[in-house]
């Protein structure tokens, strides 16, 4: 499939790029790695008049550490470079794990962290060629009024398939969004919307320029688990990031986030509360696994059946908490 026609703009500076977006609004799309946008353009599900390449803007391509122990990741750092970065490998191993789990080496060499965060939500009925889509009524996301994933639904249920998002939320990352003349900082938890069409709060004239990671705390444990049909290349059926802060099985803080299950990453608040109250005991983990099922809300049959998604979510919660329990026990042994 060939790309549709468009005008290509390569800004020399970020300011110039923001100006272009300000003037063109909805007509322009930002191109970074291209592994998501260009595929969707070939499918004719995105038809921008202007494509603005920002990958070569140097201010977006660095990972740097601040004086307070925080780390700033430029949105155009490639997934390969991010996984190789020593600041990330030492302080945020779960982010490295999630990053290396994405697609194939080729795609990680091209794709960027900003692109993975803003990854288009996906659906069986939407991510198809125009010819294929034309065989059915036009769905919400393609500009129509029906949803093929859930019959009768008044909204789009396309799924957020990003692997780095759950880890970034668990790490309390902050997104830096810039537009002409202003900048806003959005906590990663509030960056996503439970809507397959407008799945982030990013405005058409804004660029996600960086991700800020707070200092990694010494007594916190974190893990990431992804389940997909093959280890390489496939999008996840479900993934989870989980973290706890504490020692000796007791937790002062807990955070669990599921991804690839719904249109937005699912922050399991009640499940986390169970762990804060009961710690990482077998009994408490059992209770957390039960609680998780009640927090999932309405799920679709996209990519896997809704029933499978519920079971998988419970398995992911159980595995993640077991892993954290193991990490904590191991740490206690090494300290003792």
């Amino acid at each position: 499939m060939r790309l549709p026609h468009f005008e290509y703009v390569k800004p020399a500076t970020l300011e110039e790029g923001l100006k272009v977006l300000h003037q063109s609004g909805n007509k322009a799309r930002i191109l970074a790695g291209g592994t998501d946008l260009l595929v969707n353009m070939k499918y004719r599900v995105v038809r921008p008049e202007i494509v603005m390449g920002i990958k070569s803007l140097p201010e977006l391509c660095t990972v740097s550490s601040g004086s307070n122990g925080s780390v700033t990741i430029g949105s155009c750092v490639t997934l390969t470079d991010l996984a190789k970065n020593s600041l990330i490998a030492e302080n945020y191993p779960a982010l490295k794990l999630a990053t290396t789990s994405i697609a194939s080496k080729h795609i990680r060499n091209m794709g960027t962290i900003g692109g993975n965060v803003c990854l288009t939500t996906r659906c069986w009925y939407y991510n198809q060629s125009k010819l294929w889509r034309d065989g059915r009524e036009v769905c919400h996301k393609a500009g129509g009024t029906v949803c093929h994933a859930i019959k009768g639904s008044t909204r789009c249920h396309a799924i957020n398939n990003s692997d780095t998002i759950p880890v970034l939320i668990v790490l309390n990352a902050t997104m830096v969004l810039k537009k002409k003349g202003s900048e806003r900082l959005i906590p990663s938890k509030e960056f996503f919307r439970d809507d397959g069409i407008r799945y982030t709060v990013l405005e058409p004239d804004e660029i996600l320029t960086a991700l800020l990671l707070p200092e990694s705390s010494g007594d916190s444990y974190i893990t990431f688990i992804k389940v997909c049909s093959r280890k390489g290349l496939d999008f996840a059926w479900g993934s989870i990031a989980a973290s706890v802060t504490g020692s000796n099985g007791k937790c002062t803080q807990a955070s669990l986030v599921l991804s690839s299950i719904a249109s937005a990453p699912l922050v399991l608040k009640k499940t986390s509360q169970v762990i804060i109250e009961g710690g990482l005991s077998e009994q408490s983990i059992e209770k957390a696994v039960e609680t998780a099922r009640s927090e999932l809300g309405i799920l679709t049959n996209l990519f896997t059946s809704a029933g499978y998604k519920r079971d998988l979510s419970q398995v992911l919660v159980k595995r993640a908490l077991g892993e954290l329990q193991g990490q904590m026990k191991k740490e206690r042994r090494t300290k003792a």
Partner: protein, 162 residues
Amino acid sequence: MKQIITLKVNGDTHQVAVSPWHTLLEVLRDQLGLTGTKRSCGMGTCGVCTVIMDGKAILSCLTLAFECEGHEITTIEGISGEGTLHPIQKSFIENGAIQCGFCTPGIIMSAKALLDENPHPDDEQIREALSGTFCRCTGHIKTVEAVKKVSASYGKGKNDGE
């Protein structure tokens, strides 16, 4: 809408007139006649269009030609000498890792990017590097074996890493 851009491919500098929507793959095949790089899915799934850009394996079907200016591109045509094969190519033939040959350029370029960076990878690293490429006839065991065998002596021959 066409613009003249300068591409550095296999050590040669080419000036080509391209439109913004032309991918590197289209320019390599249709304008430069370098048809060793294949086109198949066009969606980043199969890996047959793999070329090396600045030492990294990338997919030429998802790379705009406009964004390749100032970068060093190597295609399958650029790795063998005159009348001689690259050691990875020889190893693929000797180890039966080639059948119809359509996916082979992509797999060899992926393997070359890996071996140039890490001449002695373990099985897991080889599998990871080749995981973005599909072979639908020989299978993937032979390709992993071929890369493993050539890695033992990689970087020692005079034609390596060219």
